[in-house]
Amino acid sequence: MNAQKLSLLFNYHFDIQSINIPFSFLAALVGYATGLNFLTSFIVSLVTGGYFLASYFYEKRRKHEYYFYYNKGFTRAGLIAYSWLLDGLLAFLIAIIKSIIR
């Protein structure tokens, strides 16, 4: 994957994150209020509910923008998978940092 394609992928990823992170933060707060660990709740939401919701809203509100990526050879499944893997990586990094801090 060349640099241009990578920047496009990050562009898509940031769009997804603009919904995923605030939602996951909210979910973490709710989790914390109910006695769960804040960071664990955040990580879980980031790769599950938060990501699902973010993808859903992107699909509903900005569906036409997928053509921006199709014209560069991306598929929808590919974009979602790459972006989810990046979130997984982020979650993994947070988990490592959390374990080091502890």
């Binding site: 900005r62 923008e65 014209n71 598929t75």
Partner: protein, 696 residues
């Protein structure tokens, strides 16, 4: 440059259970522009998306240079696609989009483009429709793909940007193949090397523009009336300029108005009592209030524009022959009018707000919500009904005028989401659909909706007039193209009579003045009124009270049948008559072609003056050969002197006496009637006896 060939066939596509594409073959090679035309819902966008691979299909075969290529390998490498609704991300600056999208060299070239350079720091939402479309296409043509599919590149953008998009396609057509679809068919025809029409799921190669008329894609006469250069298969179909020139020529033709005044309306019983005028009422069987207004407007606007009259006549005749029923009622249209004119806030436009608003009103409905909901639902169902009717009209081979109107209606709602709602059979609209429709109907598409409603009202008028033609045995006039005046009618009758007697009658420039005589009550005035009605209605494009009528077109109709004095202005009956004759003389002097009807000319003065004046005026009028005159009179003594004038011919109505009672057959015949039954009628009514009794 390597030449590549894109081929697509074996495509089957269904939408909502309906097969929209079934027999498709499309071929495009590098350096070629293939134009794809088709009505809304024909499957143009579907075809492009199927080729591009973003729409799943039961069956599809897309080949590049003869090799089948599957979608993931087409996108980005072989084909780029411009969707109808744009595709650029809204949150990224334009300069950055260019950097993301094309190689460095192309990026510099795009950034240096004078139409893009001022906007590099802006975001997409800050661009106008034309600027955005131009940028999108500029980006796509700079991708390293071999084919570009453009879905509606011209729709909804200002003409100057349409030209820029055309220039862009022409600039890059040397290195890529283009498949372009749009409703702006003149642009498509202008840039295409090959043209395809999607009709009933099939792609039909169009080799002559007239074929587009045969498939009712464009109104009859759009191309067939113009002189077009021949073009062979493979040549560019660049006949646009010729067509546009032709249109300009038509628009330049001046139309002299048809003059008529209130006295004539009164004489012919058209609007004597406002909108409840007797003859107007015969036609006023419209179903909607707007239809009534439109009928009144048409009724008060006679014309001598042959094209307008023929179009209207043919449209009404089509309704008459095919028994077309509009099926749209007064209550429906009143509801829509009330909804559009009510000052109620718009439906919330975000999904969440719309849902909350909807839920809140489900618990306790507000008056505003009720009005808006009913308004939207009625508008949607009415538009669905009307679009079906428009399709039905075209399927039945309706005449030019109706085809043009129904096609215009079809094009008036270009918004894809609203069209989806209108083409769906789902009667329950979601909160978001309600919101979309409300915002479109009352804001963005308000003007378009108004035009569609005007078309519905116009169709209502056609249906009402066709119904009147059937009910009252009216016939459709034929218009003759000749410089000198002529009117021929067979079976002429007055439509307000319960048992009318019909007459055949003819008048032309060789014998342009008819001297009509006959006893009192023999039918002279009724005949003049019936004849006047025929002339007037034929200049509306409406059916006439006759079995057959052919006529040339005139510049006006003047009648003097029920003329009275004018107390407010201090004019006596005679002076009013004189003024009327003078008015006719002045209008004739302006070289106008008139039909003039006088009933009992100069009856408001003494016999001697009436005789002298009638003799001189009739003789002078008969020499005006470009107008037609029908003059009834009781002063038959002047007939002998007038008989030497070859332009004057004499007709009369007969009466016979049976047992002291006059009998009339109301038939017009040649000759002069010397019958006098005035005193007899007075005697039969015993007026003298009554007065003698009173006087002792």
């Amino acid at each position: 440059m390597n030449t590549h060939v894109l081929e697509a066939d074996s495509i089957i596509a269904t939408l909502g259970g309906k097969k929209i594409l079934s027999d498709v073959y499309l071929r495009c090679q590098s350096g070629e522009v293939v134009g794809v035309l088709g009505r809304n819902g024909a499957g143009k966008s579907t075809l492009l998306q199927l080729i591009f691979g973003t729409l799943p299909s039961e069956d599809r075969s897309v080949r590049i240079d003869g090799e089948v290529v599957h979608p993931p390998h087409l996108q980005g490498k072989w084909i780029a696609y411009l969707p109808q609704n744009g595709f650029l991300p809204s949150n990224v600056p334009i300069g950055k989009i260019i950097g993301h999208y094309v190689d460095a060299e192309s990026g510099k070239k795009i950034a240096a483009d004078p139409r893009v350079r001022p906007h590099l720091k802006k975001r997409i939402r800050e661009l106008s429709g034309g600027e955005l479309r131009y940028l999108e296409i500029l980006l796509l043509v700079n991708l390293k793909v071999k084919f570009v599919l453009l879905d509606e590149p011209f729709s909804g953008i200002e003409p100057i940007y349409q030209d820029r998009v055309t220039d862009l396609i022409n600039e890059y057509r040397g290195e890529k193949g283009f498949v372009v679809t749009d409703h702006v068919y003149r642009k498509i025809i202008g840039i295409s090397d090959k043209l395809l029409l999607i009709n009933q799921g099939k792609t039909i190669p169009i080799s002559k523009p007239e074929q587009l008329e045969q498939f009712s894609y464009v109104p009859r006469g759009t191309f067939s009336g113009s002189v077009l250069p021949k073009f062979a298969q493979g040549d560019r179909l660049n006949f646009l300029s010729v067509v546009e020139d032709d249109v300009e020529t038509i628009e330049e033709e001046a139309v002299v108005p048809f003059e008529v005044d209130k006295q004539t309306w009164k004489d012919l019983d058209l609007f004597d009592q406002g909108r409840k005028g007797l003859v107007f009422s015969l036609f006023n069987n419209v179903k909607t209030v707007g239809g009534g207004d439109r009928l009144e407007q048409l009724f008060k606007s006679p014309s001598n524009d042959l094209r307008v009259l023929e179009e209207r006549r043919d449209a009404i005749r089509f309704f008459y022959n095919n028994g077309i029923d509009l099926n749209i009622g007064r209550q429906q249209m009143d509801t829509i009018e009330h909804y559009l004119n009510a000052s109620i806030p718009l439906y919330p436009d975000t999904r969440m707000d719309a849902l909350v608003y909807n839920l809140r009103n489900k618990l306790k409905q507000t008056n505003n919500h009720y009005l808006v909901t009913i308004g939207i639902q009625t508008t949607v169902s009415t538009l669905r009904q009307f679009f079906r009717l428009a399709d039905e009209l075209r399927a039945k081979g309706c005449p030019y005028h109706l085809a043009a109107m129904s096609l215009n209606v079809d094009e008036l709602i270009p918004d894809g989401k609203i069209r989806d709602i209108l083409s769906s059979s789902n009667t329950e609209l979601s909160a978001m659909d309600m919101s979309r429709c409300d915002h479109y109907f009352r804001r963005k598409g308000r003007e378009q909706l108004r035009r569609i409603m005007d078309t519905i009202y116009e169709f209502d008028v056609y249906q009402a007039v066709a119904g009147a033609a059937q009910k009252h045995s009216l016939s459709f006039p034929e218009y003759i193209r000749r410089p000198l005046p002529l009117i021929q009618v067979r079976g002429l009758f007055h439509p307000l009579l319960a048992s009318p007697v019909s007459n055949d009658y003819s008048i032309d420039n060789d014998s342009n003045l008819c001297f009509i005589s006959g006893a009192n009550m023999s039918g002279k005035s009724t005949f003049l009124k019936a004849f006047g009605l025929c002339v007037y209605l034929s200049h509306l494009g409406f059916p006439v009270p006759a079995a057959y009528m052919e006529t040339t077109l005139f510049n006006g109709l003047i009648t003097t049948i029920n003329l009275s004095d004018n107390i407010s202005q201090g004019y006596s009956h005679f002076y009013n008559e004189v003024r009327r004759v003078k008015d006719v003389a002045l209008k004739i002097k302006e070289k106008k072609r008139l039909v003039v009807l006088f009933d009992e000319l100069f009856r408001g003065t003494n016999v001697k003056d009436a005789s002298d004046a009638s003799l001189q005026v009739i003789d002078a009028l008969s020499r005006v050969r470009n107008s037609l005159f029908l003059i009834s009179t009781h002063i038959v003594e002047i007939a002998e002197q007038l008989s030497e004038n070859k332009n004057i011919f004499f007709n009369c109505f007969e009466s016979t006496m049976e047992a002291g009672v006059p009998w009339y057959n109301y038939k017009i015949r040649e000759g002069i009637s010397n019958e006098r039954v005035g005193m007899l009628i007075i005697r039969n009514e015993q007026i003298i006896e009554i007065l003698k009794e009173v006087g002792g």
